[in-house]
Subunit: 318 residues, 2 copies
């Protein structure tokens, strides 16, 4: 029993009661052969391969509970992991989630986190098939995403060739703009502030890009310049980006840049966490993707309008 009216905590409820509440009543996709509650889950791997990626989110570093609701945190954790699977040209099918939190965390907040995980996963038909719940000094959410290539060749970082077009689908600079607004306590630009809390990943577009013949692909987690640089390094090519082709992204954050006194191009070119997809195509770019540059001969480097970019280039973990 709780000793006040805040509601029962994880310490009040105990690990197994909390887990029972988190998994109760969740509807699993048919690919889930054994769901939560056993030593491990069993999931179908349609074409005899599985795509796998993991990301950890730490309270105070990757999210703040005075900005994000637990539901937002759950959605973000799923979104950023699914983006990595998308970037291989695969469909995300299942997740396992390890959650560390203080014993004083409300059971209801853990449930809202789980609801956020499930609500985001459900938008593309995936299930949360297992997890772990442990005590930790702050919230830590570690998500592993599994994906199915459905017979496709995985789209790697290293396949871009000179002459390919570089194209993007999804937002650029919105999360960075939102972060600046939150930091400066500016309450306008609600859409941008939301973008920082929960990215809008272009689900299904990784598969579309693979089917359209993408030669290389990644998601924009560290910032466009940084992530394209990884692709350029792995492919041993240069990439020339055109700011003119990014005018819509610039326009979407220009007002917030004025309000915060920051450079909108630093957000568009250097801001991460929107989890747009960027890919290279030898031929036509798929519907909905916008061409933002082209691949040129090496050395590996990223140019903006033909020149080195000297502004911000993204985030470092340490």
């Amino acid at each position: 029993m709780a000793d006040d009216d805040r509601g029962e905590t994880l310490a009040d409820l105990g690990e197994f009661t909390v887990i029972d509440r988190l998994v109760e009543g969740r509807l699993h996709a048919p690919i889930v052969l054994v769901g939560p509650g056993d030593d491990a889950a069993v999931v179908t791997a349609g074409d005899g391969r599985i795509v796998v990626s993991t990301d950890m989110l730490v309270e105070g570093r990757h999210f703040r509970l005075d900005w994000s609701t637990p539901h937002d945190v759950g959605r973000k954790a799923i979104a950023q992991n699914a983006a990595d699977i998308e970037a291989m040209g695969a469909t995300t099918t299942a997740f396992v989630v390890a959650f560390g939190a203080p014993g004083a965390t409300l059971g209801d907040d853990a449930l809202r986190l789980s609801d956020g995980l499930w609500d985001e996963a459900r938008t593309f038909g995936a299930s949360i098939v297992g997890g772990d719940l442990v005590a930790a000094p702050q919230w830590v959410i570690s998500v592993t995403a599994l994906g199915d290539l459905e017979g496709r060749v995985p789209v790697l970082l290293g396949g871009a060739r000179p002459g390919d077009l570089v194209a993007v689908i999804g937002d650029l600079g919105r999360s960075a703009a939102g972060y600046a607004l939150w930091l400066k306590d500016i309450h306008d630009f609600d859409g941008l502030r939301r973008s920082h809390l929960v990215p809008a990943v272009p689900y299904g577009q990784g598969r579309m890009a693979a089917d359209a013949g993408a030669t290389a692909m990644t998601d924009v987690s560290d910032g466009l310049l940084a992530d394209v640089r990884h692709l350029a390094d792995a492919s041993a090519v240069g990439v020339d980006l055109l700011r003119e082709a990014l005018a819509a992204d610039h326009g979407a954050v220009a007002g917030a840049a004025t309000a915060t006194g920051e450079d909108p191009w630093a957000w568009v070119l250097g801001g991460g966490e929107d989890h747009a997809l960027v890919a290279t195509f030898p031929g036509a770019v798929p519907d909905g993707w916008r061409t933002v540059g082209r691949v040129v001969e090496g050395p590996a480097r990223v140019l903006v309008d033909g020149a080195e970019w000297t502004g911000d280039t993204g985030w470092q973990s340490f």
Copy 2:
């Protein structure tokens, strides 16, 4: 550059340099189609299914860096996750590992952790195929294990039937004994102290049990009574354990129990983290397994020598 002679830290080196050092020169098994360095890894899933489980270890809660070396922590993280895959009757093939640590962590300590992960995984032929490295206020290691059932039916918690024999392979009570010795700063009983830092998982025996017709199985992570209770609940059966059959485990910890003033039976019956396997068999028990009791009609409960056990029954996360 480091500003003292302790060596370079994660903050000095930066995320990407550290990751490069952690993955450099590791030899991957043939099942790894795409290894670390891309947005996600790709691993073969031989029989069209994948077994998946995740566990999080938090510094101060699941390990202490004044007791364990970083190498020990890596081995333990792999061992406890692989035990969950074993308990399904599968072979563990691959892992992804998310590592959170303070920026002041030495790069060499991160490398030693990675060496521990790899050294343990290599004992059963598995690879670390991907990961994440983030800043966190303390060490947090979150491991996801993938396994291959190789055509077997997964061995679940819920398949035990009255008349089955209950059998164990692996250690019981050693980790709990070691923990008491570490806590009380007693420097004898080196083997038990080591058992607490790195469990000795009976790798390959989950598959053996499945092939021998095991009807239910789990690994002993919370303590024999607690884990057999999960099996009894899921199977709606009773289990009667015989202390006489656990005499060897009792004997292995009796000296340490005398030295610490604790009850050796509490360790053998209630101590977790050794990650022995416990399974039920309708017929003969496989070589190397020891029969420790039998399955009886419900209600779901666990008896010791025919009576309710009133001592310790394991660990709670909160």
